[in-house]
Point group: none
Chain length 403, copies 2
């Protein structure tokens, strides 16, 4: 690794060059079925992806350092060329983005957990017995009526015991420590400002918690709140600033639309079917330099532990390829954000197949798009954050370093 | 990556050990001819290189982080084991080295651009209509007569609108911002010292610009100057300091002779033909621990977009091998500094084949020296800065780390 790789790429990025499509099949990587020795992607019939693998250069990418399993936020940030450790997005921000909340620069977002406390205010259940989502919706609506001086405030339900709080107004600050003590038997921690800049925000959150007590005091389970991931969304340089790319996103799920918006992509109408994605891509192709296209089903099936379902999702992904190729991007990258092996039923740290097509791709011997085949690919095993610089290079968008 | 790899290598380097030859074929890496699927190197008949590949260990190296195309300066610095981002050489220094100017420690080198300004001093052409090189030679000679108090000063023509200025004397400093505003319609920027140390140099450069106005005012096109890459050449530790190597360079082109000199190599007579290189190498072999041998033709042909010419250059490189092997170095490394695919006609970011021969090389299955074959090599894909530590290790010149 080099001193300041991200800074170097930013300095070399040029305004003109070819068009790039980054097609991300969520959770694409898998593990083999012990009976066949083939992963979901390798089991699937994927003639279009295999043709791209034969035409372009292939390899694997690691979303994070070896052994680290990323969440969806960091995995996408890495693919977008942002070191996911340096650009750690606050949980509050991800929670708000995940429900499709339109966060503005300067907003502070907080993840709220409904919790149970005893008569002395000590936590007895940090998740309020996982109250049903309907209860969460009802309580969030009540909390949304709380008024705070000088700022706007939004409380939105997420799921079960989880909700999101957003403050909007001047002079706010993130980075305030969680009030969740991470154990029961003690009261929630107070909201403490560690810097001068955090004082106003800490005072407002403290007032919010005071007012919430009156609203929640009759509740059998959700009679208290803790706050986590108190964070702002305004410190992330955009694709335009970093890569001089006018970028657009085609994604259906709020979380991915949110992360794309966070890096300054124009978020196009959210669609999911191969046909609809193709149509939106074609319609917008003239207007942008870069397209992030998100395909969700591969992850959903992996999370469900459904090997056959994930095989079918890979075939659905393959069916999307001809319409993407039809818009004739100068560079086409197909990969996943992380692995979601169906035998684990969850995200994992395993390397993810990646292929890059373009006129300057150094063709390798790989003729099929799969975890084992890509091991022999010309890219070798790279880091996810290296995918964007490579895409820019193949699009002729990176100037030479030095003379 | 490790905290301070360079520091570790420096601590472990020992004074005694075998002799190393690093043979660099400039721009060696290529891209395949679509008709044959073979690159220039793979198309060439290279029995000697193939025999070395079979005998030694092979792989590929990345000159810079993935996607970044290096200039010749950074690419050579990386192969010499210097992080090219950390040791970024100023454009002024490279310009002076490129014309064979003998830069001393403490010198400040500046790239001068002849430019055209209007009656109000606003730039109308930042390259003075690319004046002919003869005009550049004439004007550089006139500017060379300018006297500055307390320092020596050299103005040398480079090519067309480009010239080099070198200041020599005590108390100078580099790192001063360019005066080229990078656009027309505005005057050149003043020379501004950002630190106390830069004040003397900034004052001298300002005085130089004032005096140049009288000389250039009658010129129809080249009636002004801008300054870029104001830099010193004194902050680079030598091969002796870093690796305890008494090193020599055999290179014909000024730029490579310059970069070799920059890291403290003894620059031997510049020759180009395989026969002459062999003779110089043989004659000097007893006197040095390390030889950098530079072969230029592969890059020239790639830059010219001449696939067949580059194939021929690879075969010429191959013809040089027996005489290099004949001096019997303990370690022989053959590689390129970067790729120059003839289909792109320019440097590129693609990985470069590398082979290392020596008694401790762990032989791999690779039997041909080429981009595809080396993908299966025992070295894998390494970074260019890792080549030197490997060469030192194979030469028995790196002590064990820890007990």
């Amino acid at each position: 690794m080099h001193s300041d790789m991200e800074g170097v790429v930013e300095k070399l990025a040029t305004k003109n060059g070819g068009k790039i499509v980054l097609l991300v099949a969520d959770g694409l990587g898998g593990l083999p079925d012990p009976k066949t020795g083939l992963t979901e992607l390798e089991t699937a019939r994927t003639p279009n992806l295999d043709a791209l693998a034969a035409e372009g250069v292939t390899g694997l990418h690691l979303p994070m350092p070896p052994g680290i399993t990323p969440g969806s936020g960091p995995a996408h940030m890495a693919l977008f060329g942002y070191d996911p450790i340096r650009y750690e997005i606050g949980r509050g921000v991800l929670e708000a983005l995940g429900i499709g909340f339109d966060l503005w620069k300067g907003d502070v977002a907080v993840r709220l957990n409904f919790a149970t406390v005893d008569g002395e205010g000590r936590l007895t259940d940090r998740r309020a017995g996982r109250i049903p989502t309907e209860k969460c919706v009802e309580l969030a609506a009540k909390l949304d009526a709380i008024e705070l001086p000088g700022v706007q405030k939004f409380v939105r339900p997420v799921k079960e015991h989880r909700a999101a709080l957003v403050l909007r107004g001047g002079g706010l600050a993130g980075g305030i420590a969680d009030t969740d003590p991470q154990r029961t038997g003690v009261p929630p921690l107070p909201v403490v400002a560690a810097t001068k800049e955090q004082e106003k925000t800490a005072a407002l959150l403290t007032l919010f918690l005071e007012k919430s007590r009156g609203i929640l005091k009759g509740e059998p389970k959700a009679n208290a709140l803790t706050m986590r991931g108190i964070a702002m969304r305004d410190s992330i340089p955009t694709f335009e600033e970093r890569f001089k790319l006018n970028a657009a996103a085609i994604a259906e799920y709020p979380m991915y639309r949110g992360v794309a918006g966070l890096v300054g992509m124009k978020v196009l109408p959210g669609v999911d079917s191969p046909e609809a994605i193709a149509q939106v891509l074609k319609g917008a192709f003239a207007d942008y330099d870069f397209f992030f296209v998100h395909f969700k089903k591969t992850d959903t099936m992996g999370e469900d532990g459904n090997f056959e379902g994930k095989v079918a999702a890979c075939e659905r992904l393959d069916a999307l390829i001809p319409s993407v190729v039809a818009v004739n991007p100068d560079v086409l990258v197909v990969t996943g954000d992380h692995s979601t092996p169906s035998c684990l039923g969850s995200h994992s740290w395993h390397a993810v197949p990646v292929l890059i097509c373009g006129r300057s791709a150094r063709r390798d011997a790989v003729r099929a798009f799969g975890e084992s085949a890509c091991l022999a690919g010309g890219l070798g095993t790279i880091r996810a954050v290296d995918v964007m610089p490579l895409a820019l290079a193949h699009a002729g968008r990176l100037a030479k370093f030095g003379a």
